[in-house]
Symmetry: C2
Subunit: 259 residues, 2 copies
C-alpha cells in the first residue's frame, strides 16, 4: 500500500473497516464502467473480476453497507453505484484546493477523475508570483497569500499538497489553520497535523521501491542477472559501525560489507 492514514487510530468509522473503505472506490469505478455500458445487473464474481479482487472479499465488503444484492441474481448496477457513492460521501460536492502547481500539481488539476466524482477544484495555489494569473486547466493560478481567504470563501475542507518537500509542512499548517481537515500529501515528507485532521500520502518513489524489492527477489530466484547496469549505487556505503558478532539476515550470511 502506497498510502496510509495518519492519526485517528483504528477506529472503524460507523462499523465499516478501513480496508473495505479503501476498496469502495475500486468497486465504484468498475460499476461506473458497467453503468456506461448499460449493464443492468452484475454478480459478485463478475464485479470482483472487474475490480481486481476476489468475490468473497467483495461480498463481505458489501455486507458492511447493507443487503443490496438479490440472491440468485446479483447486484443492480445503478442502485449499487448510488449506495457506494453515498457511503463515500460523493453525493455531495467537495471543493478542493491544490497547492503547488508544478508538473504534478498541473497534472492533478487536469485529472478528469476528480470532477467526475464530486470533487471540484476550487482553486490552484502557488508560491511563485510568476505563476499568478497564469491559467492551468482553465483556472487562474492564485498566489499563496490568498490561501486563507480562498479556503474560507469556498468552504474548502480538503487540500492537496503538491509542493516540494521543504514547503509542505508550512503549507499544511496554513491549510489546517484556515479550516482544512483532510489533506492529500504528494510531498515526500511526514506531515504533523493536529488531532482530527486526516492525512493520506502518495509517494511516487515508495511504490517503485516496493517493486524493486520484489524484482530483486525474482532475479535471484531465476539466477537471471538483474537487468540493471551494474551494482553502481552501492558506492556511498557505510562500514559496520563498531564491534563484531552481529547476526545477519536469517542468520546465514554474516553481514557482508561491500567494497
Amino acid at each position: 500500500m502506497a498510502t496510509g492514514r495518519t492519526h485517528r487510530p483504528a477506529t472503524r468509522s460507523r462499523g465499516i473497516p478501513e480496508a473495505t473503505v479503501a476498496r469502495l472506490p475500486l468497486y465504484l469505478r468498475a460499476l461506473t464502467a458497467l453503468s456506461e455500458r448499460s449493464v443492468p445487473t452484475v454478480s459478485s464474481e463478475e464485479l470482483a473480476a472487474a475490480a481486481g479482487v476476489n468475490s468473497a472479499k467483495l461480498r463481505k465488503d458489501f455486507s458492511y453497507l447493507g443487503s443490496y444484492g438479490t440472491r440468485g441474481v446479483g447486484y443492480d448496477v445503478e442502485y449499487l453505484v448510488y449506495q457506494i457513492s453515498r457511503e463515500l460521501g460523493l453525493t455531495q460536492d467537495w471543493p478542493v484546493v491544490i497547492v503547488g502547481i508544478g508538473n504534478l500539481g498541473a497534472a492533478l488539476a487536469n485529472y478528469g477523475g476528480f470532477a467526475s466524482r464530486g470533487f471540484r477544484v476550487a482553486a490552484l495555489i502557488d508560491a511563485d508570483p510568476a505563476m499568478a494569473g497564469r491559467p492551468v486547466a482553465g483556472l487562474p493560478v492564485r498566489h499563496t497569500d490568498e490561501l486563507e481567504s480562498i479556503i474560507r470563501d469556498n468552504g474548502v475542507s480538503i487540500g492537496v499538497i503538491a509542493t516540494p518537500a521543504g514547503a509542505a509542512q508550512q503549507v499544511c499548517d496554513r491549510l489546517v489553520a484556515a479550516g482544512v481537515t483532510s489533506i492529500l500529501n504528494f510531498a515526500p515528507t511526514v506531515l504533523a497535523v493536529p488531532e482530527g485532521v486526516d492525512v493520506r500520502k502518495v509517494d511516487l518513489s515508495i511504490e517503485l521501491q516496493i517493486l524493486a524489492f520484489h524484482e530483486q527477489r525474482k532475479a535471484g530466484e531465476e539466477t537471471t542477472a538483474p537487468s540493471g547496469a551494474g551494482a553502481a549505487a552501492a558506492a556511498a556505503v557505510a562500514a559496520r559501525p563498531a564491534a563484531g558478532g552481529r547476526k545477519g539476515p536469517e542468520g546465514d550470511v554474516p553481514a557482508v560489507m561491500p567494497a
Copy 2:
C-alpha cells in the same frame, strides 16, 4: 492505502512481511534525512517519530532484517541506510521507462526522488508523434514504436504507465511481452498481467474518495454542515431496482431514496 499488489499471493518473500516491505522506504527516507544532517545514531523512538509510525512496529520491522541495532544505544544511521537499501534492492541500478508523457508523465520524469534511489529513467515514451523528439526533463521523448527495442536495449524490467485509461492495458501487454516484470500503473484501470508480473497501482482519485468518506463522518459527528456548496452531485441517481423489504445500513434507516 492507495495501492495494492496484484498476483503473487501472500507468499512472504524471504520471510519479510509485505507490510514491513511497504514501510522500509519510509524508514529509508527518514534515515537519509538524518544522514544528511550527519546524525550518527538514532533510537527506535526517534526514528519512528520521523517516519510517522510507532516504535514497537519499527523495531519489529527491523527485526526481520536482522539485528542491526545496539541495545542501550540505538541504530547506526549510515549502516542502517545501507542495510535497508540493500534489502530493497536499491544498491543496484534500475532502469525504468515511463510511458505516456502527459502532465503526469512529465511530472514523474522530473521527479527527483527516482534518481536519488537508484532508479534511472532510461526513456520516455509517448504515442503522439508530435511529442517525439521533444525534450522532457532532459530526455527526448521516443515514439511507442520503439518501445520493444528500448526495453531490450536497456534491460528495463520496471515500467511506469501514465497513459490514459484506454491505452493502459495495451501498453501493459507490450511492456510485458518485451520483458518488463514490474509495473507501476497510474492509469485508472485494473491491469491483467500474467503470473510472475507485479503490478502496483496509484490512483489519485481513490485517495481523495477515502478522504471524503472520513470527512463526511466528521461533518456528521459535529452537526457542522458539510462545506460543499450543496448536495449537487446526487442528481444522476438510481431508484431501488425492484421489490421491497430491504435492510438498510446498520438496520436503522430504511434505505432512503433521494429526489
